[in-house]
């Protein structure tokens, strides 16, 4: 095959790939009656409506203490569920990582459990848990806990196998006990990365908690739902503003913590 033929073939394949993507996109739009042009045309109108209605007025500002109270509740729930989930995830990850496995099958069990918890979406968990716990903070807490647990087990297993395999071998060779190897080698080597993932999950969970709150009738999400459905757009807009600021503040502080630890 000549270079010219090879390059031509590459270009033909790229063209076919592009055609397939375009066909999929237009097919899906046609099936769902989605009109991209209309959506784009509607955008200025929607923005105009938001600017006209989503403006906090004096009455909305008077509701600020209540909004902050709900925000506080939501943030605390996200932090609590993430950190407790991280502790459980650490135990499962140590038991399941190849480097520190307690049994050859432990990895399979640990990964399997984590996969189930992770691949059910947080809103799906909230709906499932609604049946047993009703509309309470528990439902939201557990939904966030399960998803965080599933995600953290996976990344912690990968961290342990990536970061600490060599030093674990060295400490095993000195005759150190399993528990000593974990505390003196695995934890110090993996801590910054694990902490970094935990901070990431806290950020994610604060956003998720707002959504989950709409379903479970708790926290800032529910408050938003109330304002919105009672046409109190000024209060709803203030709430959105506060959430955005809170998420940004959390992100900035977690980045600072990350820098300090690494």
């Amino acid at each position: 095959m000549l270079p010219r033929e090879y390059l031509l073939r590459r270009r033909v394949w790229a063209g076919i790939g592009l055609a397939v993507i375009v066909a999929l996109a237009s097919g899906a739009s046609w099936l769902t009656d989605f009109d991209l042009a209309r959506a784009l045309r509607a955008f200025p109108e929607a923005a105009g409506w938001a600017v006209a209605n989503f403006v906090p007025d004096a009455a909305a500002w008077r509701r600020l203490p209540k909004i902050l109270d709900k925000l506080n509740e939501t943030i605390l729930m996200a932090v609590a569920s993430s950190t407790v989930a991280a502790l459980f995830a650490l135990v499962f990850a140590i038991a399941g990582a190849r480097t520190t496995a307690v049994h050859p099958w432990a990895g399979l069990v640990s990964r399997g459990v984590a996969t189930v918890f992770r691949n059910i979406d947080v809103s799906a968990w909230a709906l499932i848990l609604l049946f047993s716990f009703g509309q309470s903070a528990y439902t939201g807490y557990l939904a966030l806990f399960f998803v965080t647990f599933g995600f953290l087990v996976r990344v912690m297993i990968e961290t342990i196998d990536e970061v600490s395999t060599d030093s674990v071998e060295a400490l095993r060779a000195t005759g150190a006990a399993y528990t000593a190897i974990i505390s003196q080698s695995v934890i110090p080597a993996c801590l910054p990365r694990m902490l970094s993932w935990l901070l990431f999950m806290i950020e994610t969970n604060i956003r998720s908690a707002t959504l989950v709150g709409i379903l479970t009738g708790t926290g800032i999400g529910f408050q938003f739902d109330l304002y919105y459905k009672s046409f109190n757009y000024p209060a709803a807009s203030l709430l959105v503003l506060v959430v955005v600021l809170a998420v940004l503040a959390i992100e900035v502080s977690s980045n600072a913590i990350r820098r300090a630890v690494l």
């Binding site: 030093s167 060295a170 095993r172 000195t174 005759g175 006990a177 528990t179 974990i182 505390s183 080597a189």
Partner: protein, 262 residues
């Protein structure tokens, strides 16, 4: 009976790969033995059988009159704590200081609880300081190991092995990742340890010239078998060809010729 007796040791990985194919050898106390052979010859496997980091198929290893194959639990940990191990990639906990990494060598001789909490005795701390001074690393004592050069890291690795107060030192390709200067420092250090402390040293190498210069005895391994066992002076071109294959022999001869010319 010799200090280390290996009898008809066989180890397979899977059904086909034979790592060790009936290795029999004995090592006297205080010897400096270099094991040479191409990659995949079974050198690493052989070393890791001696401190039972891996289990083997058939055969037996006796160290100081103790059958290594029968050890389990605390007895195995005690066995490992009497053997120091030095690795090609140093296997340090990079985020911890030189001091902490050297002290890790004592974990094998500590109770589980003291090990978990890292409660090193005053005597161990004194000993660590002495070893660090001896290895010329005192200015780096509180530095994190990820800030050290390769040669310094390997000296930390040797320090971790020395604080075990070992009867035997196993070195798996200790200079394979180092530049020639650092490699010379490490080999001199190992030779000094052997000479002044009387510790028996087993070194895996793939640099024949280094092996010939430092070894008191050479063991050539190819495809899991001992093909040469004797003094460095007795190593001939035929032996090198047997260990590394005919082409490697030509390479070596060429280099020796250029050495002479230079």
């Amino acid at each position: 009976m010799a200090f280390l007796e290996i009898t008809d040791l066989t180890k397979r990985y899977g059904a086909e790969t034979v790592a060790l194919d009936g290795i029999t050898l004995s090592v006297e106390r205080g010897a400096f033995v270099v094991i040479i052979g191409p990659s995949g010859a079974g050198k690493s496997t052989l070393l890791r059988c001696i401190n039972r980091m891996i289990d083997w198929g058939s055969g037996e290893i006796m160290l100081d009159g103790v059958a290594v194959g029968a050890l389990a639990g605390p007895a195995l940990r005690r066995h490992r704590s009497r053997i120091g191990m030095v690795f090609q990639h140093y296997n340090l906990v990079n985020r911890l200081s030189v001091l902490e990494n050297v002290l890790h060598g004592r974990l094998g001789a500590m109770s589980s609880l003291a090990g978990v909490l890292g409660l090193y005795s005053a005597e161990a701390q004194q000993e660590a300081l002495r070893i660090v001074q001896m290895l010329g690393l005192e200015p780096q004592l509180y530095k994190r190991c990820d800030q050290l050069s390769g040669g310094q890291k390997q000296r930390v690795g040797i320090g971790r092995a020395l604080i075990q107060n070992p009867a035997l030192l196993l070195c798996d390709e200790p200079i394979a990742s180092l530049d020639p200067n650092a490699a010379r420092v490490i080999m001199d250090t190992l030779a000094g340890i052997n000479r002044t402390l009387g510790i028996t040293v087993l070194v895996n190498l793939h640099q024949v010239d280094v092996a010939l210069r430092y070894a008191g005895r050479i063991i050539g391994v190819n495809q899991g078998r001992v093909v040469y066992d004797g003094p460095p002076a007795g190593v001939t071109r035929d032996h090198i060809a047997m260990i590394y294959g005919a082409e490697a022999d030509e390479l070596l001869i060429e280099r020796q010729v250029t050495d002479v010319a230079a």
